[in-house]
């Protein structure tokens, strides 16, 4: 078998060196009742060609966004063009097949990259420090809530109704067995949500998203002030990190913790994972942060180098007292993020954000011709909510049958909320051509 270097001669010689007769002698500690005498009921080994055929057949049963006539699906995952250099570099064996950098002398590549990643995340979010990544944006948000509770030693959590419902659910799951209420309004893309009212002196934190799940932009400064007044922390969620190239970052609007989904930069859609959770906060909170941190130091020759640091926060040292149980994180996705961000730079990220916004505005304007349909947003970045004259879900299904991925029906995120049944979330990135926009408009005209 191609992945197994031992030959039968090797095996014989090694058993001899060990001083046992058969491989079974090495499994003596396994209760005989539990030993499988023969291979389980599974297909036998197969060659590359056969495996490739089988999986390619499965892949062919999916409609890839790039192969669809058009795709405007967003709501927390965005299809951007990732430069070829990114995928080339993350596949270098020294990055791909390395472990967590526990031996810094032979892990400076990963460690310096993580230091650069942390610096980039801090810069784009407008925060002071960032960690070396979490599983995804939603788990970052959940960890932020737990951190806020630890930090201000209160339990109540206020979550904006316009935070991505999957993020809210993830927070609820993580917070499931710690007491303290979670307050949420009813979602309404046509109204500004009153959040100040929910913040009281029991409140540990307020969680808001910007742009929110309906695509709306909001100045967080008043909310930050409100939180400060009550001694609560403001947690800002960003699901489309490209927006930070065009929008005032949460850090500048007074957020205490910024969590984001980093997938848009350097990472593909991958049906939802692996993605990369960004986690940034203020310097004074670092000892409460979850996750790994790369830090700068010097070596025995006095040269600058990097190490994992402040691990006394982490499970492998602190065990049940750790700030989080996370161990494996999203290292390689963070690398992809860092490489793509290095290619962009300030100039490239600004241009990319401008391009996304301009194309979104362009489509929003084109949609005016769809009878009975209305863009609900006053403001937006690259995604907005279109209210249709009829339920959105069947319309999306119909267009999908014609190879057009129109967007995400709000009802998929808010099942049972009738007020949102006709709403369709439409995302537009640099990958959308004007022809594809026109195809969507035409198809919607035909479907409503």
């Amino acid at each position: 078998m191609r992945y197994l270097p031992l030959t039968s001669d090797d095996r014989r010689a090694m058993l001899g060196a060990i001083g046992v007769k058969s491989i079974e002698d090495l499994f003596v500690d396994v209760p005989t009742s539990a030993r499988q005498a023969k291979p389980l009921d599974l297909p036998p080994h197969a060659g590359e060609l056969e495996v490739e055929r089988e999986l390619a057949a499965l892949a062919a049963k999916n409609l890839a966004a790039g192969q669809a006539k058009a795709s405007f699906v967003g709501a927390g995952a965005y299809r951007h063009h990732v430069p070829a250099a990114v995928d080339h570099l993350i596949q270098r064996g020294e990055f791909l097949t390395a472990y967590t950098p526990y031996q810094p002398e032979i892990s400076q590549g990963t460690l310096q990259m993580l230091f650069e990643f942390q610096s980039q995340v801090a810069l784009v979010t407008g925060m002071e420090v960032a960690n070396a990544s979490m599983y995804d944006g939603a788990t970052s948000a959940a960890e932020a809530v737990l951190m806020a509770r630890r930090t201000v030693k209160r339990e109540k959590v206020v979550i904006s109704a316009a935070v991505h419902p999957h993020y809210r659910e993830t927070i609820e799951t993580f917070a499931r067995y710690s007491d303290g209420e979670i307050a949420v309004n009813a979602p309404d893309p046509t109204q500004d949500e009153n959040l100040e009212a929910l913040i009281d002196d029991q409140t540990a934190c307020l969680v808001v998203q910007n742009p929110d799940v309906f695509g709306r932009l909001r100045d967080l400064t008043p909310l930050a002030r409100a939180c400060q007044a009550k001694g609560a922390l403001l947690i800002a969620v960003v699901t489309e990190v490209v927006s930070l190239g065009a929008i005032t970052p949460p850090g500048e609007m007074g957020a205490d913790i910024v969590v984001a989904e980093g997938q848009s930069i350097g990472n593909g859609l991958n049906f939802g994972g692996p993605y990369v959770g960004l986690f940034a906060t203020r310097e004074k909170y670092i000892r409460q942060m979850p996750g790994r941190l790369a830090g700068q130091t010097v070596d025995a020759d006095g040269k600058r180098g990097f190490v994992l640091t402040l691990s006394t926060r982490e499970q492998h040292i602190r065990r049940e007292k750790a700030t989080s149980n996370i161990c494996t994180n999203a290292g390689l996705c963070a690398l992809a993020f860092t490489i793509h961000m290095s290619l962009l730079g300030s100039e490239g990220l600004r241009q990319l954000a401008r391009l996304n916004h301009a194309k979104a505005v362009q489509l929003a304007e084109k949609l005016a011709v769809v009878p009975g349909a209305k863009v609900l947003n006053q403001s937006f970045f690259n995604e907005f909510t279109l209210r249709l004259p009829k339920p959105a879900a069947p319309v999306v299904e119909k267009l999908a049958a014609d190879g057009i991925l129109a967007g995400v029906p709000a009802s998929r995120l808010y099942p049972g909320v009738n007020a949102l049944a006709n709403d369709l979330l439409i995302a537009v990135t640099e990958t959308a051509t004007e022809a594809q926009m026109d195809a969507l408009v035409a198809a919607l005209k035909g479907a409503v």
């Binding site: 197994l4 999916n62 990055f95 002398e105 032979i106 960032a130 640091t309 161990c327």
Partner: protein, 518 residues
């Protein structure tokens, strides 16, 4: 002239190697931070002019500069290529990091995960357009169920610790459904840190179970601690000492007798895959690190995937979303309703780690049922070969029985040499090997835990053994200084971790303007 020995005259060029003006050492090139190379005007991408529109940013347009460095593509390629060359990896050498299962990562799997039909599909596309993806998840779930003998599997956890969290949530939900609020979770001393951390995250008190001199769970002590308020025991098997819990069936029975669940940490599943089904050991719930047993790359720290297999009793509490067979093909249950109404809810934003699923299934199909069994046997054979060949010069932590997939040594053999486990590990680096896991598990003094995995050849194990033996002899010969100065030949020598933690520098900052500096 004869170049042969002239280097003798210039000792200075090692270590700091002032011998070069650049500080570079031929192919090992010093590399600055991207922030120290960037030019604001420069960019490594070319984008078309945006359509002319009036902005809809609602007055929130970013005013401050982003402060990111600008580099061209050639600079970016060179930067990250050079950084990569400062890493050790499986592709470059033996990586015997115990408990981490650093096995070969097949390139076929990387290729398949990048098929547009897997890599370029959106988690919120209509389910009708992702039937192949759901079928893949369902097929992978079938393999996992068959290999573990468990009836159900939760696919969404993103890593082992996330899987532990998932598992304990289902346990707690199951108890509470019975109106039985239990408070304690029992965890062996030797457990991985994520075990107690996870139990605590689920609101449980953690109590530790001592180990026997044989490096196993002390069954008697366990029974003594069991009681009506124990929600679960978390036992790793094979355990972190690389040993199979030979009393595991009794352990499970004891737990069940007290109405507690048996959470098994499956990080070491590689030792028994295809040979032993956890279901036959009395396990109620277990996570599997696809990035260990099923070879998805570690990527310098992640990503991973930690599916959790469950008994029928715990299955109803599995997290959303669920992939189920429906009238017209596969369906995705995304909220706690219908069959999933008892679910503990969502663990992350979207479906599982699809990219890892493709790789893991490709790995399984490549090995087949026969090959996976061979994987376990070769992994165990390789570890025992190391144990046998090193027994006389190093000190095995536990007697002379066989180990499973990893061999554990303590630092007795270094006693009185002035060489610590850390020094020994650093000397191994100069020899061209990644060190073993050190100082874990905690139950052993100066632990060295070595897991070769099945993808190492006998030749490479023999080299490793030779290096370890010569180092052990060197240590005993009293060359402590040599070890304390190691590593010498690395891009960086020992790094000052105390300084790093005392005054943390966690990000680059623009240099303070000259006049400000004093």
């Amino acid at each position: 002239m004869d170049a042969r020995n002239t280097h003798k005259d210039s000792p200075a060029i090692i270590g700091a190697h002032p011998g070069t003006a650049t500080g570079n050492r031929a192919l090992m090139i010093e590399e600055q931070l991207i922030f120290e190379q960037g030019e604001p005007q420069r960019t490594g991408v070319d984008l078309p002019e945006p359509p002319k529109v009036t902005d809809r940013l609602g007055g929130l347009a970013r005013k401050t500069d982003l402060g990111l460095p600008g580099l061209s593509e050639p600079q970016v390629i060179r930067h990250f290529t050079r950084l990569s060359q400062k890493n050790y990896s499986i592709d470059t050498g033996l990586f015997p990091l115990g408990s981490c299962t650093m096995k070969h990562n097949p390139r076929l799997n990387e290729k398949l995960a990048r098929l547009p039909g897997f890599g370029d599909i959106h988690p919120l596309q209509p389910v009708s357009t992702v039937q192949g993806a759901l079928e893949l998840i369902d097929t992978l779930a079938h393999w996992l169920r068959t290999l573990t003998g468990m009836p159900a599997v939760a696919m969404t956890p993103a890593a082992g610790a996330h899987g532990e969290f998932c598992g304990l949530l289902t346990i707690r939900a199951a108890h509470e459904a019975k109106g039985d609020a239990r408070k304690r979770v029992l965890v062996p001393e030797s457990a991985h840190g994520t075990n107690p951390a996870t139990a605590a995250a689920c609101g449980y008190e953690v109590e530790s179970i001592p180990a026997t001199p044989r490096g196993r769970v002390d069954l008697a002590a366990l029974k003594a601690k069991l009681g009506p308020d124990v929600a679960a025991i978390m036992v790793t098997n094979p355990n972190t000492c690389g040993l199979f819990e030979d009393e595991v069936i009794e352990i499970a029975k004891a737990a069940h007798d007290h109405g507690s669940y048996f959470y098994c940490d499956g990080a070491n599943f590689n030792a028994i895959v295809g040979k032993v089904r956890p279901a036959d050991l009395g396990v109620d719930v277990m996570h599997i690190n696809l990035h260990k047993t099923f070879s998805t790359p570690h990527g310098g720290g992640g990503p991973g995937a930690g599916p959790v297999v469950l008994t029928a009793a715990l299955a109803p509490y599995a997290p959303t979303p669920w992939v189920v067979h429906g009238a017209n093909g596969f369906e995705l249950i995304e909220t706690p309703e219908g069959p999933a109404q008892a679910s503990v809810g969502r663990l992350k934003a979207f479906n599982g780690q699809m990219g890892m699923f493709v790789r893991a299934l490709a790995y399984m199909l490549s090995h087949g049922g026969d090959g996976l069994r061979q994987v376990a046997e070769d992994a165990v054979l390789n570890a025992n070969y190391l144990l046998a060949r090193l027994r006389d010069v190093m000190s095995p932590a536990f007697g002379d029985g066989p180990c499973m997939h990893e061999a554990l040594f303590d630092d007795k053999f270094l006693e009185g040499t002035g060489v610590t486990t850390l020094d020994f590990a650093k000397a191994l680096i100069d020899e061209g090997f990644h060190p073993t896991t050190i100082y874990f598990p905690l139950v052993v003094h100066g632990a060295m835990l070595m897991e070769p995995t099945e993808t190492e050849s006998k030749e490479s194990l023999d080299q490793f053994i030779q290096a370890l033996r010569s180092l052990a002899e060197k240590a005993k010969a009293g060359e402590a200084a040599f070890f304390q100065a190691a590593p010498r030949l690395t891009p960086r020598r020992r790094l000052d971790e105390t300084a790093a933690a005392r005054k943390p520098i966690l990000r680059w900052r623009p240099p303070a303007p000259a006049q400000a500096a004093e």
